[in-house]
Subunit: 398 residues, 2 copies
Amino acid sequence: MDEMKKATREQSKNHNKTLILNSIYTAQTISRADLARETHLTRSTVSEIVSELIEEGLVEEAGLGKSAGGKPPVLLQLIDDARQLIGIDLASGEFRGALVNLRGEIQEWICIPIQEKSGDAAMEDVFTLIDQLVQKATSPIIGIGIGAPGIMDSVRGVVRMAVNLDWRDLPLVEILQDKYTLPVYIANDSQVSALAEYKFGEGEKEDNLLVVKIGRGVGSGIVIGKHLYQGDSFGAGEIGHIKVEEGGIQCRCGNYGCLETRISSRAIRNFAVAIAEENQDSSLYQLKEAKHPITTQDVHEAFLAGEPKIKEFIEDVGAYLGRALSFVVSVLDIHRIVISGSVSMFGNGIIEPALRELRGCALSTIADDVQMVTSSLGEEIVILGAAGMVLHNELGIL
Amino acid sequence: MDEMKKATREQSKNHNKTLILNSIYTAQTISRADLARETHLTRSTVSEIVSELIEEGLVEEAGLGKSAGGKPPVLLQLIDDARQLIGIDLASGEFRGALVNLRGEIQEWICIPIQEKSGDAAMEDVFTLIDQLVQKATSPIIGIGIGAPGIMDSVRGVVRMAVNLDWRDLPLVEILQDKYTLPVYIANDSQVSALAEYKFGEGEKEDNLLVVKIGRGVGSGIVIGKHLYQGDSFGAGEIGHIKVEEGGIQCRCGNYGCLETRISSRAIRNFAVAIAEENQDSSLYQLKEAKHPITTQDVHEAFLAGEPKIKEFIEDVGAYLGRALSFVVSVLDIHRIVISGSVSMFGNGIIEPALRELRGCALSTIADDVQMVTSSLGEEIVILGAAGMVLHNELGIL
């Protein structure tokens, strides 16, 4: 009974500490009196916890605020660089990692090309990446967050399936915790992208948010009620394999007509090459003739140059995206959709046709308020989301 | 400051009371000592709150439990009939209402056919229904819960759009609260069906649940993390207007090829009539010739009799449902799907082809664990969910 009381008191103290830290994090600067008002905690509890936070080097005093009659209050602020987080993106083709401060600012960035490596060889590269980041750290590291394509069991810390890396039921969290004695968290890369956008993205902070990631693969992450929603088996948001056409092309999942076969960067390059072959005046045709492998960037340039066939084709990409999102919006009724990943470079080239298709396919009461924008977080979105996962799990910062 | 402290103390007391009431509700019978263990509250707080609950007539002592050495503990239990809830289903064609006890047992049931009534005339029927239920009450009524087809703003208490009743931006909650001086709650009928299934349905209580309602309209309700998820504009789960075929039939929403045009009871009757016209040996043909309006029940009988064309057609209904659910499952990754509404009478006739289609269209890592069953709550599902909403909002019972 005493044990339990102690545990309960400990829990409630941690809860109060999280409340206070979140208020300081959000407010930029805030006085102890305002903290008490905001958190509904007593002045003495606030003072005690703030002293702890100052002692731990997480918070500092930052001058005086405006007087409300009496003595001007001492302001408190977060020390942004007090701790570092490691964020890792196990992307196809290359592993990327960074040291990130408490505000999501990237302070060191490393990229390791992994080509076709998989299994143990790929794991060695993960070690190399983390080793290098640990060496470069300038503040205590709180933990390691990892985003990877595939099905990641975030609770057990197990990679259930990462096709590209040929990892199945791999206890990645245990392996890394043993090696680095740091807390480690994993989640699917599209899912952590949603966290990144929620924590560090531009625009108003909505309680519900959908982030679509369109690169080599296609997936999405869903924030519901301020929290990442992962589903019953961590597969929530796997929209890349929604069927968007009868028949269609065979997908790497085995089915036919999946969204991914129409809008992934790979699909875009393949279709663009096919179009180029039939249009010898296309810039892509010249590239192909020069044996230059066509990149998404090349297709984007042809699109910007206004090549009609490419414009038409990108419009179709947007329409397929819009069709799939009409399903998502009918289910979730989420107004804010953010597009990330390399294909987001097409911007309004895909967003406009996507919105048109979405509005033609979903109830207007739901579809009318949908806003679609591209992410401002660029290629680092997965790294930031992975770091954000650590920030949330270790410091309770939402 | 004192005001605030008082408010905080009041809040925390309500929170503790809810904790204790939920434990008693779930446990059937439980001692004060076990309540303290379960809720992590002190014995004296538990005793104080239990005394209040007994005084309010919600809880009673129910004999002695097993001794764990010393004196055998006094057991507590909920008085199931201590209060009544009013649940209302504003279904198309008829309004239904019931008095329900705290366990979701229906104690009085009333149905008013409304034919084509709408606007103020329909509102008069709502009053009549509630008047009659209030008169029949045998315990204090806690509140009124209402489920209706359309978009219901549960926060503002406003019917944003109920096409059949021709209600738009109608402040239904305010109107009824003023008239009956009771708390009133509204939500979409498919959404409250999910609450009903979560609170009173058979099977294990999963944190996440999808309930599909297929009747005159088609919709669904989503429970995420034990709570009803309604989306940014209360339209979450509106899957009846997901596009399941190119072209297709025009839907009452204006679009073409919506799920509703393929699987609603209306759609089933219309298709069955068309099939009957071409098959003079069908039982439906005889009914039609006898000028008998064909009901879903008639189609079901022809299906049970094994009429090949009808069996084939019902298989298609299941496949369209499965296609739409493959989208839903790809987004939500929810394993437990419950089918309700009049069309659920076809049972495995639609569930088997639906599961086949779903598994052919969604990633196997997500689709393999999906289970689909029909609801055991029958026609009362909306009434029960509406009552459950009151139970949750007024007593905090999950």
